[in-house]
Symmetry: C2
Subunit: 222 residues, 2 copies
């Protein structure tokens, strides 16, 4: 059973809090808007309506947040409130911190403060959805252990340039920084194809790559 502190009960923070409670953990929550506390009161072990910028440290100690297992800073729009929350959590011994960031500047501030779990769900979803709708990308894998890793899995029709070309000569890895993890051919999935496998017309290629690599590949081949 873990103790989780959530500062900021917007959409991200309150969903995290509810899920943590559903998994059997204790959730301590702080938000300066009483309505946000009320909305998920049943899920909370302890809570306070407070402004983290003015009440910060005392409120965390008072609520028993010292040495909590996980701290979640879920304030997107007020960067100073977000930064102060990170500071206060670290000062009461919370070592694992997840923080939601709203833009590049916010991300960089959190990085400088040593937060290793920084998440921008709206930006990531904007990228992912664009790939899905505009590229026929079938699935997206995010490794969420730390920050969202910029890594996608795409399924695309084998471009004519690669028909009858062996995987080892396709130069997908060398020239495009893409890893071919599978070929779908007439309904069959060839997992981790051998280097001598020839790509054929009609094949669908499953490729793992960063968004930058995907953009370059698309501009060239698609």
């Amino acid at each position: 059973k873990k103790t989780v502190v959530v500062i900021g009960l917007g959409r991200f923070g309150s969903m995290f809090a509810k899920k943590a409670a559903n998994l059997g953990h204790d959730v301590i929550a702080i938000d300066h808007n009483p309505k946000n506390i009320e909305n998920i009161q049943d899920f909370l072990s302890v809570y306070a309506v407070a402004d983290i910028k003015t009440d910060g440290k005392q409120i965390l100690r008072k609520l028993g947040a010292e040495n909590a297992d996980v701290g979640v800073v879920a304030i997107g729009t007020d960067i100073s409130a977000s930064a102060i929350s990170v500071l206060e959590l670290e000062e009461v011994g919370v070592s694992t911190i997840i923080a939601k960031a709203s833009d590049e500047e916010h991300i960089r501030i959190l990085e400088k403060m040593g937060v290793d779990n920084i998440i921008s769900p709206e930006k990531d979803a904007g990228v992912a959805m664009a790939y899905v709708k505009l590229l026929g990308g079938k699935a997206i894998i995010h490794d969420l252990q730390g920050t969202y890793i910029d890594m996608f899995i795409l399924e695309i029709d084998a471009p004519p340039k690669l028909w009858n070309v062996a995987v080892r000569h396709s130069r997908l890895r060398e020239d495009f920084q893409m890893t071919l993890i599978g070929i779908r051919r007439q309904g069959q999935l060839i997992v981790i194809p051998s280097a001598d496998e020839e790509i054929q017309e009609g094949d669908k290629l499953l490729l793992a790559a960063s968004s930058t690599a995907i953009d370059a590949f698309v501009r060239k081949f698609v």
Copy 2:
């Protein structure tokens, strides 16, 4: 080359717009805050500072948005503006619509209106991050073809109850609605294990399941 219309340039909308432009498509954008247009002006083919609630249909035709390939409604906080945007896009012949929703009620309204791509990135990230931090879940797969499908891939230590139990007797599928897609044993990954494979102490199980199934499994075994 596709034509994409984006209504609302918040974090999700502007990221989608930028990505679409990077992939070589034409982006038409509408936002009532001129600053949001300025921030990504270089990525836009055509744009207008306008309120979709008051200027709606005329502005879409004027910008050449009729029969665009993809429409993105990226207004989270004003549900009526979001709903009106969906209506206007459909009326000018945009058949593929993606809409960002901020809460359950918003999702249900969009569903009733027939929007088949509804996305709540903050809520989904709240769920995903809670699993990652509180369950040791290693990776999340979202199939983003339609709405976010409630489907996760978890990697967890094989619980004692399952040690020396063959996969066919583990009843993971029947009792817990989870699909065992792999076993990691001493660094080796056994993909799609056979039904006779015995789960061992020290194994890590890779399981695909919905969030409801995961919660039930965790309360019982973890």
